[in-house]
Amino acid sequence: MTVTAKHAFEILVRENADMLRAFVFSLVRDSNLADELFQETFLTAWRKLETYDSTRPFGAWLRGIAAMHAMAKKRKVAASKVHYFDDATLDLLEIRFAKMSRTRGDTWEEKIDALNQCLDALPKPAQDVISLYYHKNCTCKEVAAKLGLGLELIKKRLQRTRQLLFDCISTKLARAGVGGLS
């Protein structure tokens, strides 16, 4: 591989890193494992670059490689480190990521701008739960203790908030002409 090819690949890595990171988070829980999967996916992509069909989106190809690696890792690591997924679930996730990738924007951050807009539109209690759980990295138990609420209520609130976000993003994407997420 020439230096030019390596530089071109580096551009592709930079363009797709955030998207791939997000996809990996839909498959694994453990951050070290996520790092490992991220690295292995790009390495495999580099080694198999000659087999890549350039008429198809590079992101989808990367996700395919990541899914393959995740499937192999699933058999070797503890169940607590990975999310549950099978072929059918992977297909559904791929549809959602593919649609998200088709939205307007040069970077993944721009593409998921709809998420920021939807987060801003959430009611305050839902925003608090999301902020503690995702941005401050608290567990459900810690969130429950901080907000003085029951654990089951926090789980339910988290789920409903995600559901709200999904519906909100889906509507925004449909309006933008990409089509709903599901």
């Binding site: 580096e10 990171r21 991220f38 169940a79 099978d86 059918a88 996730l93 959602r96 999904f166």
Partner: protein, 360 residues
Amino acid sequence: MTRDEDLAFAEDLLQGDDPAVLAQAAQRLKKNPDLRREYANQCFIHALLCSQTDMQDQKASRERITRVMQTLSTENARAGERSVRARRRRKRLLTFVGAAGSAALVLLAVTLVVFTGGPEGLPKAEAVVEMARQKSFEDLDRTYSLELIVTVGTRTYEADGWLYVRGADKVVMELETHRGRIVKGMDGKRQWVIPQKGPIFVHESETALQRMSPETADLPHLSMERILAQSSDLSSRITGKTEFPTWPGRTLILLECTPIKDAETAKFKKAQYMVDTKTGLVMRAELHFGNIPLVDKIQVNIQYSKEEKRADDFYGYEAHNADGRPLFDREKFREQLKERLNRPRPRDSRGTWWQKGPRR
């Protein structure tokens, strides 16, 4: 199940701290497509939120990309070292998998031999091999037809059957022998064999299964296990490209593997593979074995048939136990054996056998 219960289940599955929920996941998601969609939606938003937090740490993002690029730069320099690691990893996997008669392992065997001993400079050989490796890991149900030819002296016994594989650790082999039907398999954790008659043998270890069921010892995969254990000692060469009448339009690479060390005494004698250059799938394999007690030689032919979705429980023995046979109970068998050994033997007036003197 109500919708609320389903939603609670999806959340528990995403949180992943309840093993009971994980155990039910495959079955419940399969039965309920809406629940699966809901779970996928939750996973998707969860991933977006995680990545959003992740992106805020730009320093860590930059470092991750730098690490990838640095690894790529040293990729060629470390190629030799990686090859050794990959070989070890594969060896570990193969030891774990155990049932070497599976097509999945045949695919891995191809990967191993080409990686370790394949001739260099052949067009796209590495790409084909890498694809074959990926293929063997795919969670897809593939069916191969199976032909077993056993030669004892001047006699030849033939048995036909089917080999069903999913990924590297789910296998079912159905074999119609002259003495009846044998089904052998592995469900990812346990190995099992349903012999022509009698109870079903189930164990996590292949060796223990062999000890429990002598029927298993006759099956060719035992020899394959040996091959895989000594795979680094195999010599391989690509003998050419061909087309096969069953699959018109497909170009197949012909690969031949033979043992380097102890060729005279080794059980594995030779293997010939046909690998699809486009997909990396092993379409056909001919495996030759020798030096097997009571048998002169065994030939196993495997041919790819189709890809067909099968139920998850297909790879467990339960799905093949149509006549409701019991499981072989090791403890009960041990107890019976002990009892039989401890039972006082009747002595006649002529004393025990060694007091009777030599037979006339």
